[in-house]
């Protein structure tokens, strides 16, 4: 509800103005510049895009990015579903506590968490030592692989998945589960036939969010991932920092942006964007 005083002014959109100005100045204008650069640097035309389309390395990186993002979304789903289910079945107090634990990782610095993974997964780290102790000889290299970057990104993004799932699961009417049971469904049947389909919107929402955020991830894959299996954001960084190739980097950024928008558009067509955040 808009308070009467503001409605009286009949310009509720004024409330949007500060944020709109901020986004315009610091996001849309620079984005426009990037778009501009992608077709003007070093010379006008679509040379940068043509180059990308013909570059096997770039296509490979792009494919890696999608596969990694997909893997992270699946990982988040597999780990997050049981937890969200538990939360939805718990009393509001316990659910709030679990939610607090899940979102606690939001409070810790992103960089700190990434470095923590480096310590945990490093060659002299506890996990490698444990695997070695268990007879894995020589112990595997965990760090700087797709595995390590996927693991860390799952850790970072899982709260989005849990929140998406929880908000949908919480709205599943318990009477439906009882009804299914009374109609002869065994516990697995109740889950498979009723709970799972009714929680599917949460799975789709969570997976879409995680997938999209993951497409543009920079720090984690750069610090933890395999240099041979770079993701797009990392490659863009390399283009700028090492080759000062702003045109090429801008074109890549635009393609990345376009793919994210395509994912969103597909989601919107199928489910409606207004439902993405639960």
């Amino acid at each position: 509800m808009i308070p009467t005083a503001l409605r009286g002014a009949s310009k509720p959109w004024l409330l949007l103005l500060p944020l709109a100005l901020f986004l315009c100045t610091f996001f849309l204008v620079p984005l426009g510049q990037v778009a501009m650069m992608s077709v003007t640097e070093p010379e006008p035309g679509f040379g940068n895009y043509a180059h990308l389309a013909g570059d096997a390395l770039y296509l490979q990186v792009f494919l890696n990015t999608f596969l990694t993002a997909f893997g992270v979304a699946v990982g988040c789903l597999l780990l997050g579903y049981p937890l969200a289910y538990l939360m939805a079945q718990s009393s509001p107090r316990v659910a709030a506590l679990l939610m607090l634990l899940v979102t606690m990782s939001f409070w810790t610095s992103f960089l700190v968490r990434t470095y923590a993974w480096m310590v945990l997964l490093g060659n002299n780290g506890p996990l490698t030592a444990l695997l070695g102790f268990l007879g894995w000889d020589p112990p595997p290299h965990l760090l700087f692989t797709r595995f390590s970057s996927t693991l860390a990104m799952v850790h970072i993004l899982i709260p989005y998945m849990v929140m998406s799932l929880y908000s949908v699961m919480k709205r599943i009417d318990p009477a439906l589960l009882r009804a299914a049971e009374s109609l002869g469904a065994k516990p697995w049947g109740v889950f498979r036939q009723v709970y799972l389909p009714l929680s599917a919107p949460g799975m789709v929402n969570g997976a879409t969010l995680v997938f999209m955020i993951c497409l543009g991830f920079y720090v984690t894959p750069v610090l933890l991932g395999s240099p041979q299996e770079q993701m797009v954001a990392g490659l863009i960084g390399t283009q700028i920092e090492e080759f000062l190739d702003f045109g090429q980097a801008s074109a890549m950024a635009m393609v990345l942006l376009a793919s994210t928008l395509i994912v969103l558009a597909v989601y919107h067509r199928r489910f409606g964007l207004d439902r993405l955040w639960g």
Partner: protein, 360 residues
């Protein structure tokens, strides 16, 4: 004598120190329609949920066809339930909803569909099989829920306040509809409601619940005419409850606090001087003929000063005062014409209309 079909014996249920059920027992014959009537929190839904298997009794047993249900999970009890909000699966069509219990029982798809369609015909929604629950009215959802609860030929049908969400007209229509379907299938049915008119119109027998116990079980007529407790008298229909003291048990004479002498048709089981509550239904009170006035000391007669008039259309409720207490009188609408607030009325009632409730 054969065992009753459904046998509920001495059910109790406590939540910590709170007692929800304090020993509920009842027997239901095969094919019978029994209503659990009572206010919320009286234990009727708890009893239903124990029968369904969603709650566990603290003590007591439930048997169907002589077999104890105690260790049988809900999915294996073969009991059809219609829930308060219907609980139709929103991601399945009407037909898929009805087929669900058959699918769960491994009935081949073709046969399941045939039986589900037969149920759709029975509830009068033959053309609605492809509809989604959200595209159906409350009454239609109700029928689908009923069809779904009956399609697998359950040994028992439980209805948990199924008409609460419907508007008045729809509710009356569904009362008749449910009764028709129940009769045609002959399924033993327990119906939970807090609406006494629903209980009266639908039931073979009514069990009136109060505070975790059954106060009375009987046919609608028995419960209405001969309530066994003041609570039942108040909860089922409108009533006047008149406290009094027994004067002559043989002659059925009671002196009431506010309405003088009352005579009952039957002799009283209580001794002289015993306290008793008399129940008098408002509709059994009539206005006395004008020529028979002035006999305030005769039994079953009172002079009241009308102070409230509530028209119900076909009848009118008058509330009159006499000797410091109210008397509720229900007259046919025409009989009440000309009676205004402040009118003094000489009323009487037959001895057969007075029922004595022994003091608890």
């Amino acid at each position: 004598m054969p065992d009753p079909y459904l046998q509920v014996s001495a059910l109790t249920k406590s939540y910590g120190s709170v007692t929800a059920l304090g020993g509920v027992s009842l027997d239901v014959e095969k094919g019978e329609f029994v209503t659990f009537l009572g206010p919320s929190g009286s234990g009727k839904t708890t009893t239903l949920m124990i029968i369904a298997g969603f709650e566990t009794a603290t003590s007591g047993t439930v048997k169907v066809g002589g077999r104890s249900l105690s260790n049988i999970p809900p999915h294996a009890r073969n009991i059809g339930i219609v829930f308060q909000n219907y609980a139709l699966f929103p991601h399945k069509t009407a037909l898929q909803n009805i087929m669900f219990p058959l699918n769960m029982r491994g009935v081949p798809a073709a046969e399941a569909e045939r039986r589900a369609r037969a149920m759709l015909d029975l509830v009068g929604l033959s053309d609605y099989g492809g509809r989604w629950p959200k595209d159906m009215s409350g009454g239609q959802q109700q029928r689908i829920a009923l069809a779904r609860a009956l399609v697998f030929e359950p040994s028992l049908l439980l209805l948990d306040e199924p008409l609460g969400a419907l508007d008045k007209n729809m509710r009356e229509q569904m009362q008749i509809e449910i009764k028709r379907i129940q009769k045609s299938l002959g399924v033993t049915t327990i119906f939970v409601t807090h609406d006494q008119s629903e209980a009266m119109t639908m039931s073979d027998r009514i069990a009136v619940f109060e505070q975790g116990r059954i106060d009375q079980i009987g046919t609608p007529q028995e419960v209405y005419r001969r309530p066994s407790t003041p609570f039942v008298a108040r909860f089922v229909g409108d009533s006047n409850l008149l406290p009094g003291i027994v004067l002559d048990p043989e002659d059925g004479l009671v002196r009431t606090e506010h309405f003088g002498l009352l005579r009952l048709q039957d002799r009283l089981p209580s001794a002289i001087g015993a306290k008793v509550t008399l129940m008098l239904r408002p509709e059994s009170i009539h206005v006395a003929e004008p020529d028979a006035r002035g006999a305030a000391d005769r039994p079953n007669r009172a002079e009241v000063n009308v102070h409230t008039i509530v028209p119900y259309g076909e009848s009118t409720l008058l509330i009159g005062r006499s000797g410091g207490a109210d008397l509720r009188i229900r007259l046919r609408a025409q009989e009440a014409d000309g009676i205004g607030s402040g009118t003094s009325l000489d009323v009487l009632w037959p001895a057969s209309a007075v029922h004595a409730i022994p003091a608890a």
